[in-house]
Each structure stands twice: as structure tokens, then as C-alpha cells.
């Protein structure tokens, strides 16, 4: 295995260069520290470190309230993910079909769902569908568009995985007498999945991010609960900061989980 590029670039430096590097390292550390202090000072000067604004986080009720919001977020994200995985598979099968009458509509649907913003689809569910009589609950008006949008991306990921499975596998399976459907279901797809699991889980992060549009359709989730806290306690910066950290932590945890799964494609 070759070493990381940084090591090759900066190995074997002359003693003078090493001294310069250490000096720069220290000054950069000092500069970053001063930057951090500057930010803290800015908070202080704007009155944002006031105990009055942060005190609400010492109460259990605040955290319970935020946790409820987060549950709303995750409930929608989980269902959207399931829809995406299942519908994505349907679209994939259509996409790979040998019949043009099935393949072209599948491609059209995939390209449409990928090429249109999720927020636009959410507005369609909220503003346009009811005028033709389709009235969904707030939960589905958020979950369905997010699920559909993600399904198209997932379908393309499945396809990338399928294309990465070595052809030899297909040939061997066919020569053993399995028909096309069996080859796909028992040989190709399971292997394809293992290649793309990290990417699929990473897509889950995007699903969670999309649920922040819940307030557009009046679905209660974390952002909405943040606004209630702000209306009660005028604590704008601390509440938004904590909520941002919560979102980042959840998504980061999901990304970390994805990196442990699956194997590389080649």
C-alpha cells in the first residue's frame, strides 16, 4: 500500500525546513486559539453569554421537548428511507429491464425525481395535490416527497453497485442454468448491496437533512420545537446553536456508522 500523499510530500525535509514547519505549526495553533477566543469574546460582547439565555438548558423539560422534536425528525426520516429503498429497487429493476417499454419510463421517472428539488416536491404535495383531491396528512406530505426524491438517487446507487459486480459472476450463474431473474436476485444483487451499503447509509444523512422542511407542511419536528423555545425565552443564538449541534451529531453518527460497513468496489 502506498503511503498517504502528505507523507510523501513532506517527508525527508531538511532540518531547516523541519524547524520552519514546527514554527509555523505553533503559530497556526496560536492563531486558531486567538480566533476561538475572538469568537467567545464576540458572544460575550453581544450579550449572548448571559445566563439568562442559556439557563433554559439546565432544565430537563427543555431537553425532553427537544428530544420529542428529534423523534419527529427521525420518524419521518426512517419512513422516507424505507420508501426510498423499496421504490428504488422497483425503479432499478425497471431501469435494467431489457424491454424498452419498461426501461424508458423508469429512466424518465428517475431523471425527473433526481432533477427536481425536494422542496418543490414538498410544495406540490402541500399546495397542488389537494386541488385534485389528494389530501395527505402532514407526516406523509413530508415523508412521501423526501422518500420519492431519495428513491431516484438510491436507484442509481443500486445500478452502480450492480455494474460493479464482475461479469464472471453472471456468466457462471447463467451457465449453471439459473434464469435471469434468479441470477439477479440470488447472485448479483446481494453482492451489489455490499458494495454500496456505505453510500446508502450516507444517503440517510441527506434524508435527515431534508426533514428540516417539515414546517413547510406544518409537520412538527426539531426546527419547530426550537421556534417555540425561542418564542418563550428569547434565546435565539443558544437555541439555534444547540439545535444545529444536535442535527450535526445525528448525521455525523450516521456517517460514521456508514464508514464501517461494506467493502470497496474493486
Amino acid at each position: 500500500m502506498s503511503r498517504a500523499l502528505e507523507h510523501i510530500l513532506f517527508s525527508d525535509l531538511s532540518p531547516k525546513a523541519q524547524a520552519i514547519t514546527r514554527a509555523v505549526s505553533v503559530s497556526v495553533a496560536a492563531a486558531l486559539f486567538i480566533l476561538a477566543l475572538g469568537i467567545v469574546y464576540r458572544f460575550h460582547a453581544a450579550g449572548q453569554l448571559d445566563v439568562r439565555l442559556w439557563g433554559l438548558f439546565a432544565w430537563k423539560t427543555t431537553w425532553v421537548f427537544l428530544a420529542n422534536g428529534l423523534l419527529g425528525t427521525l420518524a419521518s426520516a426512517a419512513a422516507a428511507a424505507v420508501i426510498a429503498l423499496v421504490l428504488g429497487l422497483v425503479l432499478l429493476v425497471g431501469r435494467l429491464s431489457s424491454q424498452r417499454g419498461v426501461r424508458w419510463p423508469a429512466i424518465a421517472v428517475i431523471e425527473f425525481l433526481r432533477g427536481v428539488p425536494t422542496l418543490l416536491l414538498i410544495y406540490v404535495c402541500f399546495l397542488a395535490l389537494p386541488s385534485v383531491g389528494i389530501k395527505l396528512s402532514a407526516y406523509w406530505m413530508l415523508t412521501l416527497p423526501v422518500g420519492l426524491s431519495t428513491a431516484a438517487v438510491v436507484a442509481e446507487m443500486y445500478r452502480a453497485g450492480v455494474l460493479a459486480v464482475p461479469r464472471g459472476q453472471t456468466d457462471a450463474a447463467r451457465s449453471l442454468g439459473l434464469n435471469r431473474a434468479q441470477v439477479f436476485a440470488h447472485v448479483v444483487f446481494p453482492q451489489a448491496l455490499r458494495y454500496i451499503v456505505p453510500a446508502l447509509v450516507a444517503q440517510l444523512v441527506i434524508v435527515v437533512k431534508d426533514t428540516t422542511f417539515g414546517y413547510v407542511v406544518t409537520y412538527g419536528e426539531l426546527m419547530q420545537n426550537a421556534k417555540v423555545l425561542i418564542a418563550n425565552y428569547r434565546s435565539l443564538v443558544p437555541v439555534y446553536l444547540v439545535v444545529a449541534v444536535l442535527y450535526c451529531s445525528v448525521n455525523y453518527a450516521i456517517s460514521r456508522a456508514s464508514r464501517r460497513l461494506g467493502r470497496p468496489m474493486h
Binding site: L9, Q48, L120, V205, L236, Y240, V243, A244, S255
Partner: protein, 220 residues
């Protein structure tokens, strides 16, 4: 079909302006995000541990934060820290920050495709590290990430829809159709027009990206 024609007659110019605003937001955030992402990637190559640590944190934060949450923070919370940014720059700033994090990520992958042997050879010729990065590593890395960067550009264009959540003086595509749908019964046709505009823009970008990739890709 007739309703679409009527819609275009009533709101044609508004749609044109909205499309231009969408493209403007897209281009500005992409260019800024790309430049910033490049700087971050290069800085992460330097043997400065504290810098690398902070930049890794930066990338993780802006890859994982929902864009809407970031925009709301910039527009509604920052002024309480005495940082008042106008709405349009706020949208561009949000998309730039998020775009720079993803650019840094993709570019890093691109750098990893450059063979270590090339770098060793360049170093043994006496080239200084920064020169090696700028003339050997970066050009090849950039040429190998055209495809993910095209996807990022399309994603950024679709993300400009979040500008509808703050009171911008102009309306971009999603804000415009939401307003039309709210005010009149022309909802579905408005959405069809907007969807078509997004789709065509995306297809144009994808086609241009594919053509560029074919021209500059490195066959190994």
C-alpha cells in the same frame, strides 16, 4: 396544456427572472464554494496538525448540517451576534459553506487517485512540496473529479430552492411557484413549468459536465 399557456402569459417574465436568479445564486455559490474547497483541501495536505484538525472539523460540520438550519442560523441568529448579513448574500454564504465542504471531500478523493510514485519522483527532482501540489497533484486531481463536481453543481442548483424560506427581494423559482399556488388556482401548471425549468437546467449542466469529463479525463 391550455392552463400552462395561460400561466406563461400571465407570469412569463416572472418565471424568466426567477430562473435567472436561480442560476445566479447557483453560479456564485459554486464558484465561491469550489475555490474555498480547494483551499481547504490543499491546506489539509500541509503537515500542520492543528490546522488539519480544525479543517476536518469544518468539513464534518458543513457536510452534516441541514442547509435550512444553517440558513436560519445565519439570517436569524447571527444578527444577535452583531453580524448582519443581507438575505441574498446569506443564501449564497450558506450554499458556499456547504459546497466547500463537499468539494473538499471530493477533491480529497481525487487527490488519492494520484500515484504516490509521481510525487516521489517530483520530490527527488528537487521540487518543493508546494510546487509539487500545484503542478503535479492538483491538476490531475481536478481532472478526475469532474463527474462528482457536476453532480454537486446540480445539487447546488436544486438547493437554491431554500432561498424561498427567507424574504429575498427577488423570487427564485420555488418561491415563485409557491406564491402562485397560494394566490391562485394555477398551482399544478406552475409546478410543471418550474419542474421543467429545473430539469432542463440540470440536463444542460450534466451534458456539459459529461463533455468536459470526456475531454480532460486521465486514462490510466
Amino acid at each position: 396544456m391550455g392552463s400552462v399557456v395561460r400561466l406563461l402569459a400571465d407570469h412569463g417574465p416572472a418565471f424568466g427572472e426567477a430562473l435567472l436568479l436561480t442560476w445566479k445564486l447557483t453560479v456564485m455559490s459554486f464558484v465561491a464554494g469550489f475555490a474555498l474547497g480547494m483551499v481547504i483541501t490543499v491546506a489539509q495536505l500541509l503537515p500542520l496538525r492543528p490546522l488539519r484538525f480544525v479543517l476536518t472539523g469544518y468539513v464534518e460540520v458543513f457536510r452534516n448540517i441541514p442547509s435550512v438550519a444553517l440558513l436560519i442560523f445565519i439570517v436569524f441568529a447571527l444578527p444577535d451576534l452583531n453580524v448582519l448579513i443581507d438575505y441574498e448574500p446569506s443564501v449564497i454564504l450558506t450554499l458556499t459553506l456547504v459546497g466547500s465542504a463537499f468539494t473538499a471531500d471530493y477533491l480529497r478523493t481525487g487527490i488519492n487517485t494520484v500515484d504516490g510514485g509521481q510525487v516521489e519522483a517530483a520530490r527527488s527532482l528537487g521540487m518543493r512540496p508546494m510546487v509539487v501540489i500545484s503542478s503535479v497533484v492538483l491538476p490531475q486531481a481536478l481532472r478526475s473529479v469532474v463527474q462528482p463536481m457536476t453532480s454537486l453543481l446540480i445539487a447546488l442548483m436544486l438547493s437554491t430552492s431554500l432561498a424561498s424560506q427567507v424574504p429575498l427581494p427577488g423570487r427564485e423559482l420555488t418561491a415563485l411557484v409557491a406564491k402562485i399556488a397560494n394566490d391562485s388556482a394555477a398551482g399544478i401548471s406552475a409546478f410543471v413549468v418550474a419542474a421543467a425549468m429545473y430539469l432542463i437546467s440540470g440536463l444542460l449542466i450534466a451534458w456539459a459536465g459529461a463533455a468536459l469529463e470526456k475531454k480532460v479525463r486521465i486514462l490510466r
